[in-house]
Amino acid sequence: MEKIKIEKTKEYLFYEKLNNGLEIYIVPNTNQKNYYITYNTRFGSCNTVFKTANDKTYKKVPNGIAHYLEHLMFNMENGSAFDFFSKLGASVNAFTTYNLTCYEVYSSTYFKENLNYLLDYVGTPYFTTELINNERGIITEEIKMYDNNPNTELTYSAYKNIFVNDNRKNLISGTIEDIKKITKENILDCYNTFYNPNNMFIVITGNVNPYEAVAIIEENQKNKKFNNVDIINKEIIEPKTVNNNYQEIEMNVNTNKINISYKIPIKNFKKLNISNHILNTYISIIYNILFGPTSDIQDKLISSKVIQNGININKTFTKDYIILSLTTETDYTDTFIRLVKETLNKINISETDLTRKLKVYKSNYILHFDDIELVNNNIQDNLILYNKFINNYMELYDSINIETLNEITKQLKNITESILIIKPKKN
C-alpha cells in the first residue's frame, strides 16, 4: 500500500489497487468518531452510448438509466439491503451524478460488517421485472418533485441551453418519457459493463485503520468473479456554440431567477501548458474575485438594490469546456446582465485581492479535513475530473501568480454565453 503525504498538511492518503483492478483511497482521521465509505462506479447519466472492446458497434441506452440502476441496486433476493444496514444502525444512501454513481455508508461501529455488506450488495445484481416496474412509479414522483423546484430548473435548463451534444443537456434522472423506455436488458447490460472493479473505486475517510480496511476489501473480493471489460464511452464532440442563448420560463416564483452561463473552451489555454486542475483553480479564483462577495459588482448591485442576496458562482468541468454559471435573484435582469458583461470586458485583478483570496483557499483546504464527507467528496471529484488524486493543493496555491492569472483573464473575453430567466407566472 502506498502512503502518500498530502503536502503541507499533517494528513496522509493511503492508496491500494487490488489485482482485480479495484482502487482504494483512504484518508484516516482518528480524531473523528465516525467513518464514511463511498463505493463508486464511473457510470453517470452521461454514459448512455458505449461499447466494450468485444463489441463492434456502440449501444445506446435510455437517458436516466444510471440513476434508475442506482435505485434498483438496493434490492436483494431476500429483501432490501437497507434491512441489513438498519440492523447495524448505519446511515446509508446513494446518488448519481453526470459521471458517477456512489453508494455510501456512514457509521461509527461495525466497520467490517458494513464495509463487507456494501461490497456485497453493490456486487449483487438482482433486477426482476416486477421490481423494475415498481421503481418506475417512485422515480416518476421524484422527477415531478424536482420539476416543481425553480432552483433545480435554473441549473438543468441552463445545461439544456448551453450543451448541444453533451449529455449534461439531459436530466440526470431522465424524463418521465425516458424512464418508460428502460428495460431489464438495458439495466443488466449497464450493470455488467460498468459495475466491474476496473471501473470502480472505494474512498474511506474518518475513523479507520487503512491496513484493516484494505485487508477486509481484499478478503471480500478474492472469491468474487468479475467480468472486467474495457469500456469505450462514445466520444461526444461538443461545439463552442450553445444550444440556446436566451430563454425565459415561467414558474412559481415571485422574483426573477437568472442564470448566465459561460462556455469556456479549455483549448484556449493550451499555450500556458498547465494541467487542468491548475487551470480550474485559476478560473475559480478569478470568478470569485470578479463576482464573489468582495467584488465591485456585488457591492454595486446590492447598494443599488438590484439584488438582495449575493451572486452564486457554479463551475462545471467537462473534457473540453469549463462552464461557469452566475446565478442570482433580481427584479432587474437587464441591469444584472449589463453589469456582468461590463465586468468581464474590463477585468482588472489586484495583487491584494489575489493574496487575500489565496489565504481563503488555503484556509478552506486545511479546515476541510475536519469534515470526513467533504474529504471523501473531494477525492471523488479529483478522480472523476482529473483521473488522479491531487496531493499538493497547498503548493499549488503557493504557485498561483498574477502573471499567469492575467494571461488567463485575456481568454475570458468574448466567450459564448447563454442566459436563462425564470419569471413569475402571469395570472
Partner: protein, 422 residues
Amino acid sequence: MTYKTYKTNTYNIYTIKTDKFKTCHMEIIFRNNIKKEDITKRSILTEILVENSKKYNSRREMVIELENLYNSYFYGVTNRIGSSILTSFCFDFINPKLVMENIEDFIKFPIETILNPNVNNNEFDIVTFEYIKERVKKDIEAIIEDPKNYSINRLLENMCPNTESSININGYIEDLDLITNSNLYDYYINMLEHDYIDVYIIGDLDMDKVSKIIKDNLKINILKDHKIKYEVENKINNKTKKIYENFNFSQENLCIGLNIENMSLYEKNYVANIYNMILGGGSLETKLYNRLRNENSLCYNCVSIYQKFDNLIILHTAISKENEALAIKLMKKALLDMYKGNITDEELENAKKLITTTLNMSLDVPGRIIDNYIFKNLYGLDELEIRIKNYNNVTKKEIIDFAKKIKINTILCIRDGENGKN
C-alpha cells in the same frame, strides 16, 4: 472534551475545550418568549446584524475582514423552539494557533459586530435597512418555491391558528410595512436589554483567556429574571378536519397533523422519538416509507416530523393526484399499526440503533456538539451517554401506550393545478 462554565452577573459563557477540530465555533445566543407581532422584525434584525457593522460598513468590507481572518464565517439564525425564540449569531474560525494569529482578533469580531452595528442617529444605515427588508420580503414570498414547507405551513395555520406552533419564522408580508428603521432600532435595543444571552464556544483554545476576552468586550449590564416558556398547548380535535386547497404545484402535497396528549417528560424525550423513527422519521425502512413507497410506488418520499415542544407530529408526502385516497388510507394504516402495536422487535431495535448512530454523528461536528450542550442547559436534556442508554431501554409497551395519546387533528390536501412550469 472539557466542559467549563464561566459566569458573569448577566450571562454565562459555556466552553468546550477539545483538540478534535482545526475549526472553532462560537455562538452568541439571544432568547426570549416568541411574539408573533415581532417575528418579522426579528428576521430583519438577524440579517442586518451580520450584514455589516460600524467598523466594516458594507457587506463587502465585512467579508474582506472575514477573509483576512482566514475565511471566518459569521451568520445569524433565528429558530422557534416551542413558544420561545432563539437567535444565534454563529462564528466559525480557524484555530488561531494554526496560523500564528492572535485569538483576541477572532473572539472580538462577532461581539463588536453585534454591539456596534452600522447605526447613525438611532437608525440603521438606510441602504442596508432597505435591501435587507426587501430580502426578507422575498424570503417570505419564496415559500411558494418549496411545496413541502408551503404545505406544512398551511397545515399548521389551519390546525393551530392561535398558538405559537403556526408562527412563520421568516415573518409576514403584512407586517413589513409597519417596520421602520427607527422602530427596528428600538427593537434591537430591546433585544439587547431584555433577551437572555448565552455564549457558547468550542475549540482547542485557552478557555480562561477566551472567557476573559468575552467578558471584557461583551458588556451587558441588565439583569433578567422573567420566565421563558417552551411548551405550546395545542387543542385536540375530537373530529378530524379535512381541508382541500389548490396550488399549481406539479404534485399533490398531502399533510396529516397529529396532536399528542399528556406526554410525560420521559415520553417527550425518549419514547416519542423512537415512535417517530419507526413511523416515518428514521431510515428508508419506516412504516410510512414501506407502505407508500416500497409497497405501492406512490411517492419518492414520505416522512413524519416530531415537534417536541408543540406536542405535534406532522406527516408529509407528495403524490400524483389520482393516488390521494389511497395515500391517506395507507398513512392512516401506518398510524393504526403503531396504535395496535404491530411493531416488530427488529423495527424497534433498528430505530434505537439509528438514533444512536445519529447522536454519535453529532460528535464529529462542532456546531452540533454545541447544540447538544444548549439543549442540555436550556431544556434539561440528559447527557449524550445517558440519552443513548435511555433510548435503548424504551420498550414496545411504552410505544403502544404512547401511540394511544396520538389523535389525528387535520388532513390537508394541497391539490395540484397545472404543471408547475410554463
